[in-house]
């Protein structure tokens, strides 16, 4: 178990990166606290797996350093880092039995057989494969194979960190939930530092103490699920987290008012004049449709998703979403929308701007 420090880390897959665009992973400084569970969230191709492979040593960064508890391991090989990693697609050793698969990382490190047998039994129980221990891994289904991969990742107790690269992609939804719970329990019991890469926000939010959101090779926000929801630091976070994502509307800010096409929205804070692309962001949960209150809006469609209704509407030429309670009656003459002033965030060039008390 170790604290992992990323110091000025950046990576490019090109031999001679010229501009910032050439970097798959842009310069990054971050401490992964010892024993914390992190989720690395972002859309495909945003650099999540690159970052993970740099931490595990499968990839050498173009610049910067990685420290484990202050010890520089930037150029140390994977074996020297003592890290466990589980990949997106199941990796099993086909010709071995399930038992030998699980024992493999321990045997390679020369642990004694009695300890290995006991550890394999424990892990088999955890992943629910005790009955299959003597079967060859080849004939198993994809999700059984992935469970073996997970098991192989967890079989060593003394790892510095456990890395998961979208490990539940091939597992069916019911089993997903169960395995995620198992992973959480494992984290609770042994206190490993865990980093879990995913593009599924539910997975990220349920698994992690802290979620690291990446966008275009950059870490845009690190925070608890609540922070990500209430105060997205970047419009991408607002859009990526939440279902549907945050409404982002171009606006002009003047003090504590945001002007959208001449009409204005109250803000709870006051802002200095902003330059560049200025937008306001409001989560659909904090927008309310009514007959009398707020600004004009054109309702296009109402989708009832069971626990609430999602209203798709047009607001001064922008598409917005509004969430209404399941019980709420939506009538044809409801053509005004109001926003909860305390939950309207202001963005300049996609980054959140902190206001001052009005």
């Amino acid at each position: 178990m170790a604290k992992i420090t990323l110091d000025n880390l950046a990576h490019s897959y090109l031999p001679n990166p010229a501009s910032e665009d050439d970097y798959a992973l842009k310069e990054l400084n971050h401490d992964w606290d010892d024993g914390a569970a992190y989720a690395l969230l972002g859309s495909s191709g945003c650099g999540k797996s690159t970052l993970l492979n740099i931490i595990s040593g499968l990839l050498q960064p173009s610049q910067g350093r990685i420290l484990f508890d202050g010890r520089d391991v930037t150029h140390a090989p994977t074996a020297a880092r003592n890290i466990a990693q589980v990949f997106q697609f199941p990796v099993v050793y086909d010709t071995m039995t399930v038992r030998d698969n699980l024992a493999f990382p321990l045997r390679n490190r020369g642990r004694d057989e009695a300890y290995i047998a006991q550890r394999v039994q424990e892990i088999a129980r955890m992943i629910g494969m005790e009955e299959m221990l003597n079967k060859k891994a080849r004939g198993l289904t994809a999700d059984a194979k992935q469970k073996i991969s997970l098991g192989r990742g967890m079989v060593r107790k003394d790892v510095n960190a456990l890395l998961f690269d979208e490990p539940l992609t091939v597992i069916d939804p019911h089993m997903k939930w169960e395995l995620r719970t198992q992973l959480k329990k494992l984290h609770h019991d042994f206190g490993h530092t865990m980093i879990y890469v995913t593009h599924d926000q539910t997975e990220a939010l349920t698994f992690a103490d802290k979620v690291v959101v990446m966008y275009d090779g950059r870490v845009v926000q690190i925070g608890t699920p609540e922070e990500l929801f209430e105060r997205p630091e970047h419009t991408f976070v607002g859009y990526f987290i939440g279902s549907p994502g945050m409404n982002v509307i171009p606006a002009r800010i003047d003090g504590n008012k945001a002007y959208v096409n001449g009409a204005f929205v109250e803000l709870s804070q006051s802002y200095r004049p902003l330059s560049g692309k200025v937008e306001i962001g409001v989560r659909p949960e904090y927008a309310r449709l009514s007959q009398t209150e707020g600004l004009p809006v054109k309702v296009r469609r109402v989708e009832d998703v069971g626990r609430h209704k999602i209203i798709r509407a047009e607001f001064f030429g922008n598409d917005i979403n509004i969430i209404a309670d399941e019980g709420e009656h939506i009538s044809a003459d409801m053509n005004r929308v109001s926003f909860d002033a305390g939950h309207v965030n202001v963005y300049a060039n996609d980054w959140r701007v902190q206001g001052e008390a009005a």
Binding site: S56, Q85, F87, Y93, D94
Partner: protein, 289 residues
Amino acid sequence: MEKTVNQKAWFLVLPVLLLVAFSAVIPLMTVVNYSVQDTFGNNQFFWAGLDWFREMLSSDRMWNALGRQLAFSGIILAIEVPLGIFVALNMPKSGFWASLCLVLMSLPLLIPWNVVGTIWQIFGRVDIGLLGYTLDAMGVSYNYTQDTLAAWITIVTMDVWHWTSLVALLAYAGLKSIPDAYYQAAKIDQASRWKVFRFIELPKMMGVLMIAILLRFMDSFMIYTEPFVVTGGGPGNATTLLSIDLVKMALGQFDLGPAAAFSIMYFLVILLISWVFYTVMTNLDRKGA
């Protein structure tokens, strides 16, 4: 579900039937026909029953040729398969050098058999051949026309030179199909290079290696042109492999009956070995699952 009965559908099978009949069944049957008859010329044939088979089975000539043939196939498989795998493992994975390797390695496969034979025949000659002359100058006694061992080394080396590429290319294709994640997982699991080979690369190559071994076995078991051009089966009968012996018997001595019996048994041996090999391998495969 009710099947539609339409006897006219048989006509659709007819072209294939005719083709197979003319290309395989009829030629094979003429051989069968010769093998059970005897002739004293004049196009007169007499029923001989299984006499030729009995005679061939009790003749040392065929057994010796079969022994040499099995030794030849065994030796070249024992060299070409491990060597091919070794070459494939050490080839560049991608880029310009990978393509260059592929092209260079394919070259021997494109050379006609008799040309390969001629190349080695000249290459090995003590008077003008680069290899033979050099060895001779170095004081190594090497003369494939007189020395049995030298003749065997020459034809085995020639076959290895000609065909190792095939095994290497097939093994390379097998290696290329292994996803990176396997190697990464092996690193995480701290597997040694040997274990990576034993538990990842070899199992993933098994399918193509099987094909490579079968192809090389059948091909080498039927080899004729190359050793015939180099040694003509000599010195003595030292490199007279099965097909060389068969041609001598059928076309040299014009012993049609014994030669026909010989070819049928030759064919059955190939069929039998391939079948045993295939069955054993697929059974191993199934037991693994």
